[in-house]
């Protein structure tokens, strides 16, 4: 209970009371939204507890980390409960005939964009897209990279050469060029397409890392001993090697999320992100770029959100690295 604070709890309670109607609507709404919210509701305390445990055990200087985790939880919470929190429909054009960019006001806390869509709602729903894409894509690429890298490292020989040479070949093509070409070929890009494309182009470095780590462990005595006791290759990979190489992988993953948020924003800015009118932070920036001087808030607010998120993930990655460092 040491980390339980009444102030945020009070705010949460106020929010529940103030948006009671929206909550009722949300509960009656589509199942997938509710599932997402439930998963996040479970993940938030689990994430906080794990982070605090790790920092407490390893005595990492944890002020920065606590701030980063709190910020992350706010972002993730906003994304998960978007239907409750957002004051308007993010794609709804309030007044088509007199579409105009409104400055921040009481009715629109962050103003509206050029199609007079509420910017706060778009930001909240955009968090959903940006964070989901980054988190799903990193999961995909870390899983793929770890599996292939470990298999390459453990089996060696022809399998190893085949996997590693393919990676070398793939790395010879600049990623952004590959992404632009592949995404330009799709006429309708939904979230899963972006996730797949980002995930499938992002695992090469992880595979190299996993392979290098496995190579350094492969001939260690405990692996030979496990093999001598008849433990199968799969079990050796899963139970003996994976826990030993988890630390650098976790660091790569957290740092990679920040990277992916940037890449996704970049793609959206180029018009190769999720198709309109779905909002992501990058596409909000793109929509606002022509009004940079008339309505600077349209560009700066998502920019600030992207910068914050990237910093949050970098901080968490650095702290994890520090916590897992044996020295």
């Amino acid at each position: 209970m040491k980390y339980f604070h009444w102030t945020p709890a009070g705010w949460a309670l106020l929010l529940v009371i103030a948006r009671w109607q929206k909550i009722a609507e949300f509960l009656a709404g589509p199942l997938e939204n509710k599932m997402l919210a439930l998963v996040v509701l479970i993940l938030i305390p689990v994430g906080i507890i794990i982070a605090l445990k790790v920092t407490a055990i390893r005595k990492v200087e944890s002020r920065r980390l606590q701030l980063a985790i709190t910020t992350l939880m706010v972002l993730v919470g906003a994304a998960a409960f978007a239907p409750i929190l957002a004051p308007y429909d993010p794609t709804h054009i309030i007044d088509l005939a007199n579409a105009q960019t409104l400055a921040p006001s009481f009715a629109h806390p962050l103003g509206t964009d050029e199609f007079s869509r509420d910017l706060l709602s778009r930001m909240i729903y955009g968090a959903r897209i940006s964070l989901s894409i980054a988190l799903l894509a990193i999961t995909l690429s870390i899983t793929l990279g770890t599996t292939l890298g470990m298999v390459a490292g453990l089996t060696g020989g022809v399998t190893d050469s085949a996997i590693m040479r393919s990676i070398d070949a793939a790395l010879a093509i600049p990623r952004i060029v590959l992404l632009v070409v592949v995404l330009a070929l799709w006429d309708r890009r939904d979230m899963m397409t972006i996730v797949l494309v980002l995930g499938l182009t992002g695992w090469f470095e992880t595979a190299r890392l996993a392979r290098a780590e496995v190579l350094s462990l492969r001939d260690r005595n405990f692996v030979v001993a496990a093999r001598a006791s008849g433990v199968s290759n799969v079990k050796i990979l899963w139970r003996h090697l994976l826990p030993n190489i988890a630390a650098p992988l976790v660091v790569t993953a957290t740092l990679g999320v920040g990277q992916l948020i940037l890449v996704e924003a970049g793609l959206s800015y180029l018009g190769l992100g999720v198709s309109v009118p779905t909002a992501s932070w990058g596409s909000i920036i793109r929509d606002g770029r022509e009004l940079l001087f008339q309505a600077p808030w349209i560009v700066t607010i998502p920019g600030f959100a992207i910068a914050t998120t990237v910093m949050v993930f970098s901080t968490i990655g650095e702290s994890v690295r520090e916590a897992l460092n044996p020295r």
Binding site: D219, R220, F222, A225, A226, G230, V231, R239, H240, N244
Partner: protein, 330 residues
């Protein structure tokens, strides 16, 4: 020892390809192990003992290792070296188990010791997690670890080297193997702990009736528990004999040198004589008898390579002195 040997090694040769040329670590080694027998393999560092042990379970990484075509390791009539995949895995740990020199490095630091024992049990027997756990606790108790149920959850770094070697023995015992290969099981341990571990090994060998291959450079250990001894030098077997014979009538000058270099408590004035020089690098064995550059009895005939001459059922020696008895009496 009349029945067929449980383990027969025929013409085992292992070479490693290195950037600086081929290294013949083990050269034409043959021996048998009878059921319930304790075979000691003795020799200095770098003479191929460990490579021999690893080859018994085909644990030599290939490449760079290369086991020659003529090599056979017949376990219960099956050539282990010809096995692959699942068939090989079923022998490892279940029928032939192995204990290594350094118990601290041989256990995975991120898994509890109990999990590592249970893992071996589950690799070979169709038992549930809970059953494997119970068996593991019984094994921990058998190898003399106090409070086994509690220790099951300990990580390797929380235990001493001696205790960890007991854990290794528990892992090796988990499927009651027919042959236990112990590669320098006491080298990394304190002297007092060494005696306890040897007692434990002898105890479980009697209890389970298994064969034990004990690899060591410590003749004291050999004298204590081996029935029969193989002396290795420079990748070859140079002498094979029953333990008493080795100590009373060593036939090979190298064996004699090894025995003379052990300090003796019964003769305080006794001068320890070291064998001059050290084992030559495996990439460049001397021609002729591989021991002759260090041998105090070397003569011109040692320039040609002697064969391992058998005399009787269980003894053999690779030395011209054993062939040319006139010279030997000189």
């Amino acid at each position: 020892m009349t029945a067929t040997p449980i383990l027969q090694v025929h013409n085992l040769s292992v070479a490693f390809e290195t950037p600086r040329g081929v290294v013949h670590a083990v050269d034409d080694v043959s021996f048998d192990v009878a059921r319930g027998e304790t075979l000691g393999i003795v020799g200095e560092s770098g003479c191929g003992k460990t490579v021999t042990a690893l080859s018994l379970l085909k644990l030599i990484p290939q490449p760079p290792g290369r086991i020659s075509q003529e090599s056979r390791v017949l376990f219960d009539g099956v050539d282990v070296l010809s096995l692959e995949g699942e068939a090989l895995r079923k022998i490892r740990g279940a029928r032939v188990a192995m204990i290594f020199q350094d118990p601290v490095a041989s256990l995975n630091p991120v898994l509890t010791i109990g999990e590592q024992i249970a893992e071996t049990i589950r690799a070979h027997k169709p038992v549930s997690r809970a059953e494997a756990r119970e068996q593991a606790i019984l094994l921990l108790d058998r190898v003399g670890i106090p409070d086994p149920a509690h220790r099951y959850r300990s990580y390797p770094h929380q235990m001493s080297g001696g205790m960890l070697q007991r854990v290794m023995i528990a892992i090796a015992l988990s499927c009651t193997p027919d042959v236990l290969v112990a590669d320098e099981p006491t080298t990394a341990l304190d002297v007092t702990i060494q005696a306890q571990i040897l007692d434990l090994l002898r105890g479980i060998q009697d209890e389970y009736g298994m064969s034990l291959i004990l690899i060591t450079h410590d003749l004291g250990v050999i004298a204590e528990i081996a029935d029969r001894v193989i002396v290795m030098y420079a990748g070859q077997v140079v002498e094979e004999a029953a333990t008493e014979t080795i100590f009373s009538q060593p036939a090979h000058p190298y064996t004699r040198g090894l025995i003379d270099s052990v300090p003796r408590v019964d003769q305080p004035q006794y001068q320890i004589t070291a064998i001059p020089g050290s084992v030559p690098p495996a990439s460049n064995w001397p021609s002729g008898c591989r021991f002759h550059p260090r041998c105090p009895y070397a003569w011109d005939r040692c320039e040609t390579e002697p064969q391992l001459e058998r005399s009787g059922s269980s003894s053999a020696v690779r030395c011209w002195l054993a062939v040319d008895t006139d010279k030997a009496t000189e």
